[in-house]
């Protein structure tokens, strides 16, 4: 974890302060984002900047809108029947909700790792890594090299190199989750969204994923939704606290966990929410 000036702060602010120079540069700029499930207003007027090649953690109690917020970043939210979003999410300055944006292409650039490891059960380990290309019909010049590179990036290569043709389901839960991350990396995204990626894993597998996030941080912009506050504290550079759909506070992770500015943040991180 590195320290850098805060990107944005303050409760419910629609216009976060400009990014401090020289870094971090915002890879994603969220402005006045709202999200609904039918009549339920799940995310309310959220504006924040997500810096390039940093880990930004999103924390908050169940139902606070953190996963919905995450799924708005690559337009997965709109796939839920009755769900809709308003506002803008700028990826490198381009609104991902723009009419000319292809959501499928967007999701290649902004990859997602889910709570439960979900390797494709009928595919081999090798094909799971290449799944993004196989399913979209993209030709890969050197698939073996891509498989090895992706698996090495998630520190899984040495564990599976002799059984690449076995089912992805033959792996342990932690290995399966790293395989899913390798699958995301194989399509060469710029941003990786992780929605509680360790909640189904044991402490050792969790530690491996957290270690991996630290290594991936130098190349990818990472947004991590987690219920585990210590995980946010350990792995992220910035932490955003959501409550009842509002962004309450976003600041350096060290500040959030040592001296947060907002009472609601303090109450949540110290376990005083009743």
């Amino acid at each position: 974890m590195t320290t850098a000036p805060p990107v944005a702060r303050g409760p419910l602010s629609s216009e976060p302060p400009p990014l401090p120079d020289p870094e971090p540069v915002a890879r994603i700029q969220v402005r006045k984002l709202h999200a609904w499930f039918g009549g339920f207003h799940a995310v309310r007027d959220v504006s924040l900047d997500i810096p390039t090649r940093k880990v930004t953690a999103v924390i908050g109690p169940s139902g606070c809108g953190k996963s919905t917020f995450l799924r708005c970043l690559n337009r997965l939210h709109e796939l839920t029947p009755g769900a809709r979003a308003e506002g803008s999410v700028l990826l490198d300055g381009v609104d991902v909700y723009g009419r000319r944006v292809d959501p499928v292409v967007l999701r290649r650039r902004v990859g997602m790792v889910f709570q439960k490891p979900n390797p494709f059960p009928t595919m081999s380990i090798r094909d799971n890594v290449l799944a993004g290309h196989l399913l979209s019909g993209t030709r890969v010049p050197d698939p073996e090299a891509m498989v090895e590179r992706s698996l090495r990036q998630v520190a899984l290569w040495d564990e599976v190199k002799d059984k690449l043709d076995q089912s992805g389901m033959s792996l342990s839960g932690g290995q399966q989750q790293r395989l899913c991350i390798a699958r995301v990396l194989a399509v060469e995204p710029e941003v990786i969204l992780l929605d509680e990626p360790c909640s189904a894993l044991d402490p050792i597998a969790t530690a491996r994923i957290e270690e991996l996030l630290g290594e991936l941080e130098s190349r990818y912009t990472i947004v991590l939704v987690t219920h585990n506050m210590q995980q946010a504290a350990r792995t992220s550079d910035y932490t955003a606290f959501f409550y009842l759909g509002d962004l309450v506070e976003l600041d350096r992770t060290t500040t959030i966990f040592t001296n947060p500015k907002e009472r609601r943040t303090e109450d949540y991180v110290t376990g005083r929410f009743g």
Binding site: M229, Q230, A233, I256, F257, T258, N259, P260, K261, E262, R263, T265, E266, D267, V269, T270, G271, R272, F273, G274
Partner: protein, 234 residues
């Protein structure tokens, strides 16, 4: 955000552990106050037995120090405290050291009192009682500020450090003058000077606690900064 939230922790056990740690610190401080007061009474009445009995109180302070450290470590290991709770834990680990040293200095006072019990008073009145009152008051108020998480009180107390230092310097000069005038007083005078120094050091530890109170409430580290009047802090 300044200070701790008024809301209770969801975990009642956690809340209880933090309360217990707070109470151990306050008890240590109260015992320290009691030791200083008893030591000074023993000096005033030339009561060596009272001074020796007071020395024994330090064992309770030492025991409480170990218990507080153990409890703080247990909370750190099992609760992973953050924000104001984390600041309270780190503050406690510092305060407990100051309080334990206050106990030791009180023991030193009583030891000097025992040595002075068979000696006649110095030919001039030395205002040890006034300095002791200032030291006890500083300790008491630092603990009050800690309990109330009162930054204004803590910072006001810090401004009084120089007054206590000046009082000690005046006593030191007076004791030197007495020894210079009559070398037969040296044994007694050096004991009196030592007691004054112990009291001044106790006040310094109270100031340390006050600084920690500011950190505890505001997350602001004011140690080793120059005081408003320009004097370097210790």
């Amino acid at each position: 955000m300044s200070g701790r939230s008024d809301a209770a922790h969801t975990s009642k056990h956690y809340e209880q552990e933090l309360r217990e740690l707070r109470e151990k610190l306050i008890l240590m401080g109260s015992l320290g106050e009691e030791m200083i007061g008893e030591g000074m009474k023993a000096l005033a009445t030339r009561d060596a037995a009272r001074a020796r009995a007071t020395i024994d109180v330090d064992r309770r302070i030492d025991r409480l120090e170990c218990e507080a450290d153990q409890l703080a470590m247990q909370i750190l290991a099992t609760r992973q405290p953050v924000a104001s709770d984390l600041r309270f834990l780190t503050a406690s680990l510092k305060i407990v050291t100051d309080l334990e040293r206050i106990g030791d200095l009180s023991v030193n006072i009583c030891e000097r009192v025992v040595e002075l019990c068979d000696e006649p008073p110095l030919p001039v009145r030395i205002d040890l009682g006034g300095l002791a009152e200032e030291a006890v008051s500083a300790l008491h108020e630092a603990l009050d500020a800690l309990v109330a998480r009162d930054v204004a009180h803590a910072t006001e107390l810090l401004r009084r450090d120089d007054v206590i230092d000046d009082h000690y310097s005046a006593i030191f000069a007076e004791v030197l003058r007495v020894m210079g005038n009559d070398p037969t007083t040296i044994f007694r005078a050096t004991r009196v000077q030592s007691i004054a120094k112990y009291l001044e050091r106790i006040a310094d530890h109270a100031m340390n606690i006050s600084e920690v109170v500011v950190f505890l409430v505001q997350g602001r580290d004011i140690r080793h900064r120059r005081r408003p009047d320009g004097d370097a802090d210790r």
